[in-house]
């Protein structure tokens, strides 16, 4: 594993996490005001762009590494997204959600290490 591929893994993970947060932010106002919110298009575009970057980076990484090596990193996205959604989107966070998210992340890491 080179430093470069670790960078790719991190960039892929970060862009995926950020994309989810931005997409959620884009969809939130559509419940009440439909798609007329002026920032909807820009948020959706940034979110989709980040998803695309993460998608192709993951494909490239899959060609070089086993899924069992790459997947533990994706597993971490659960607890990261849970915490960041509470911080950036002001979603209500309970101890139960944090413990649940941490267990899911830990479980995914265990499942995918082999």
């Amino acid at each position: 594993v080179t430093l470069l591929s670790l960078c790719f893994i991190l960039v892929s993970l970060l862009s995926f996490v950020t994309a989810q947060l931005i997409l959620k932010r884009a969809m939130q106002p559509t419940v009440t005001s439909g798609f007329r919110d002026p920032s909807f298009i820009s948020r959706m575009t940034i979110g989709i762009a980040l998803m695309t970057i993460s998608f192709f980076l993951t494909l490239g990484l899959l060609q070089r590494f086993d899924l069992s090596y790459l997947y533990p990193f994706q597993g971490l996205s659960v607890i990261i997204i849970t915490l960041l959604a509470a911080v950036t989107l002001k979603e209500k966070l309970t101890a139960q959600l944090v413990i649940g998210g941490a267990l899911i992340s830990a479980g995914i890491v265990l499942v995918s290490l082999s």
Binding site: Q63, A85, A106, I108, S114
Partner: protein, 134 residues
Amino acid sequence: MRERPSGFANPWLQLVLSIVCVLVSELLLKRGASNTADPADGWAWTGINSLASPLVWWAIILIIISFISWLYVLKYIPLTVAFPLSRVVDILVPLSCWIFLGESISTRRWCGIVLVVIGLALVAKPIARIEQRL
């Protein structure tokens, strides 16, 4: 929680649809990417040459469907709940390999699956209570 549409428009049903599409697309992507792996290609790190595989294109179609229903899910369900639940796919993949392909699951992997199930139950439990009250 806000009032939500029912039937096919039910966000929980859409969450399930999104999960199933992701499950199938993951399997297609791994196979497609492996089929087209070419370490000699200087652009291989971008993954772009995987587009030569039709399996990757089927996976992309499924990803688009799952993406649309995921956006719909995001409209109604908090990310702190929807995202952890969506990762049920990470235990469905090894479980479906075990059930349908007769692959074996190591002890460590079973431990991981149990942890994920407990975590999912913790995340889902308060929702079940809220839904019941409605």
